[in-house]
């Protein structure tokens, strides 16, 4: 049956409208989880607030469990879902740069826009920085292109690459998540409270 748009159950033209609606809901949840505060976001690196870890880990697990139940019941064909292609070195280098930006600025691109929406000045500066970064990237694109387009491993997943059983993988992943939450709580109690 699903996914709905590739199988023509919903016309393609609805794509952008649905995207906007989901985007609004996503922004609302980000803001409601307190992700428009750079101190809260950076807390995961200093150990006084693990909300980021908890929210994103929970979101990933809940959705993957839901998707696989829907796949099992025949409401969704999991093989039709879009898998983002792996550009190995681009991902590693980009991830490192993004990580530095995350610690230093206290936002990721999505949450920075969320914070701009509620009027945070640091977020305005951060978004300006993103735009400057995009400009530099575009100017240097010819130079960067071999890395940007190279090392393409295609639309691979862990399950395909290592031939794991997805159901066991999800189960173990859920256990790891809960252990991570418990450890995060433990660390949070040990670390000196920070008022923010």
């Amino acid at each position: 049956m699903g996914p709905l748009i590739p199988n023509d159950l919903i016309p393609l033209e609805w794509n952008n409208i649905i995207a906007i609606l989901i985007g609004i809901a996503f922004g609302f949840v980000l803001e409601a989880s307190g992700f428009s505060s750079s101190r809260k976001l950076a807390g995961v690196f200093y150990g006084y607030d693990f909300a980021v870890l908890k929210v994103f880990f929970t979101a990933a697990i809940v959705s993957v469990i839901g998707l696989y139940y829907m796949d099992y019941l025949g409401y969704l064909d999991i093989t039709q879902l879009y898998v983002h292609p792996t550009y190995l070195w681009a991902a590693i280098i980009g991830g490192a740069i993004m990580g530095v930006g995350f610690v230093a600025g206290g936002f990721c691109p999505g949450t920075s826009l969320c914070a701009v929406a509620i009027g945070k000045l640091d977020a305005w500066v951060y978004v300006l920085g993103i735009l400057v970064g995009i400009f530099i990237f575009s100017e240097l694109f010819d130079f960067i292109e071999p890395i940007f387009d190279g090392y393409n491993f295609g639309n691979i997943t862990l399950i395909d690459t290592f031939e794991w059983d997805p159901y066991w993988f999800i189960f173990i992943f859920a256990i790891v998540a809960i252990i991570a939450f418990a450890v995060a709580d433990f660390v949070q109690k040990k670390v000196k409270k920070v008022f923010y």
Partner: protein, 218 residues
């Protein structure tokens, strides 16, 4: 005090949620696995198989070819040798064994044209039809009687005897005209200075490849 109670309660709440999460994740492991059917359901396939609406007659095909209808693709599922010997005008050759190959999916799996399978009889073309129908491909038809029926009715139509109704004579004259279009020369025609030997113009069938993969990202 109230605050402490509240935190204790919320701690319990999180444990409860964690247990639900684990049960749901474990449920995936514990569920009995089954082989998933590709394409349409068996019941639907059976209903399609016993439905004779998939057949198209040789007269209809002859009419379509002569009127240069471009809404269909003829697919010859016989082997290479038979295909080289004789085939219908503009037929695409896809042997039955290769019908589901990736390189031919642009012909059989598309929504632009009707796909008409044919073989010597409709035995192999029916098999090709079932294979494609099971995968949910659209607009699949089968030429009733195949090439044999084509010869019997269009290329070499039986002359009606005198006691037959008028329709039989009309049908005969239509078929005879069709056979002339496909290059058959009749004795009474030979006197004419030049028998009109007209070959159906070769039409080039271009099929747009349907993009399937949904695009997205973070």
């Amino acid at each position: 005090m109230a605050n402490k109670n509240k935190s204790k309660f919320s701690g319990l709440q999180y444990k409860f949620l964690a247990i639900i999460l684990l049960i749901l994740a474990g449920g995936l492991v514990a569920l009995p696995k089954y082989e998933k059917n590709e394409g349409i359901k068996p019941v639907q396939l059976l209903a399609n198989v016993i439905n004779p609406a998939r057949y198209i007659s040789t007269d209809e095909i002859a009419h379509k070819i002569i009127s240069q209808d471009r809404s269909f693709i003829l697919i010859d599922v016989r082997d290479e040798e038979s295909y080289n010997k004789y085939t219908l005008p503009n037929a695409v050759h896809i042997p039955l064994k290769k019908i589901l190959d990736e390189e031919f999916s642009m012909y059989v799996n598309q929504n632009q044209y009707d796909v008409i399978f044919f073989s010597n009889d409709n035995f192999y073309s029916d098999q090709a039809w079932v294979l494609c129908n099971r995968l949910g491909y659209k607009n699949q038809r089968v030429l009733k009687g195949g090439i044999n029926m084509w010869f019997k009715t269009i290329i070499n139509p039986p002359k009606p005897s005198e006691n037959m109704p008028e329709e039989a004579f009309n049908l005969y004259s239509t078929r005879k005209a069709s056979s002339m279009y496909f290059g058959v020369v009749y004795p009474e025609q030979v006197k004419a200075p030049e028998p009109v030997k007209k070959v159906a113009p070769k039409q080039i069938i271009t099929v747009k490849k349907v993009k399937k993969a949904p695009e997205g990202g973070c």
